[in-house]
């Protein structure tokens, strides 16, 4: 018996299109299971984390729109990534060279640096903290965030586990 007969059936029984469709569904399911369970990882622990976003420069008259308790979303992925757990402001400083050749840090008028602490449930793996099962949070990455009141871009500068679950 031929492997593929005149009707396109494998071994006279299975339609080759059906076989391809089934294989595709199995591959998609396997990929989804791998992505959402982080299989292959030796570390896979549920925890609560606090991470800090630095946002700079921020115009001083917009500082009133940062508040504790606001939910934070990744703007591009439209995904919830935690709640504001705390914040602080500092003058926004840049370096400059004086006439005598020395480097100094100097504050830019009416601009601040915002440190936004965000708390979120996460899963700790070997390579990242995963928020919502699949959102990779990494120190050093830049995120465009939305809260109810602001639309800004910040850089993740720290992330720590505050509680294991």
């Amino acid at each position: 018996m031929a492997v593929l007969d005149k009707k396109g059936r494998l071994f006279g029984r299975l339609n080759i299109i059906d076989c391809v469709a089934v294989l595709l569904i199995i591959a998609l399911a396997a990929a989804a299971v791998y992505r959402f369970t982080a299989s292959g990882m030796t570390k896979n622990t549920n925890c609560r984390i606090r991470y800090t976003l630095v946002i700079r420069p921020v115009r001083d008259f917009t500082l009133d729109f940062y508040d504790k308790g606001l939910s934070v979303y990744d703007k591009a992925k439209q995904e919830y990534i935690g709640d504001v757990d705390g914040f602080r402001f500092e003058p926004y400083e840049l370096s400059g060279v004086k006439n005598d050749g020395t480097f100094v840090m100097a504050a830019r008028p009416e601009q601040s640096t915002v440190y936004l602490d965000i708390a979120a449930d996460a899963r700790e793996t070997d390579t990242a903290f995963l928020l919502n099962g699949a959102y990779e949070l990494k120190v050093g990455s830049e995120i465009n965030i939305n809260t109810k009141y602001v639309d800004v871009t910040g850089t993740v500068v720290s992330a720590e586990i505050i509680e294991y679950k």
Binding site: A21, R59, T62, R108, Y149, V150, D151
Partner: protein
């Protein structure tokens, strides 16, 4: 065609394909309706047009209806207009500080715009166009005879009085 061959045949593969189609339809419905609902509010926000030529002054008028210049969506009605000097920050190498200086013949224009809004847990949006309003968001505003990009620098939500 006899009755036997005309009988509807339904294989497990057909069931899988139908299930995938139903899931995709459910995801599409969720995606398209996820922003629906919310409480009606009076929404006011201010957009800053920075570094405009001095000839821009007087073009926007209180009472103008403004629209998104990219999509044409409704943004609201201008309720207040302010102009300030357009400032740049300059490094002073003698003292080692930054100072602000006005740029000649340029100005910043601040348009405060009012619209009926919808307040949701994660956002406030213009009711007529569902454009979300947040401080720091870039807007493309056009009115009668003028248009400019600008950033939202202030917003306020006031619950509507019960009628």
């Amino acid at each position: 065609m006899n009755e036997k061959t005309a009988k509807l045949r339904f294989t497990p593969l057909d069931a899988a394909i139908i299930a995938i189609i139903l899931l995709a339809a459910a995801a599409a419905v969720w995606y398209l309706t996820r922003g629906a609902g919310g409480e009606p509010v009076d929404l006011r926000y201010t957009v800053e047009f920075a570094g405009k030529d001095a000839s821009f002054e007087g073009l926007p008028q209180v009472g103008d209806t403004v629209y998104d210049s990219v999509r044409g969506s409704y943004l609201g009605v201008i309720t207040d207009i302010e102009y300030t000097d357009s400032l740049v920050q300059i490094w002073n190498p003698e003292e080692g500080i930054y100072t602000q200086e006005a740029v000649p013949d340029t100005l910043n224009c601040y348009l405060t715009i009012a619209a009926d809004g919808i307040e949701r847990p994660a956002a406030a949006a213009i009711a007529a166009s569902d454009i979300e309003i947040r401080v720091g968001k870039e807007m493309f505003v056009k009115g009668k005879g003028y248009a400019s990009p600008g950033y939202i620098v202030w917003m306020e939500l006031t619950p509507k009085e019960a009628e």
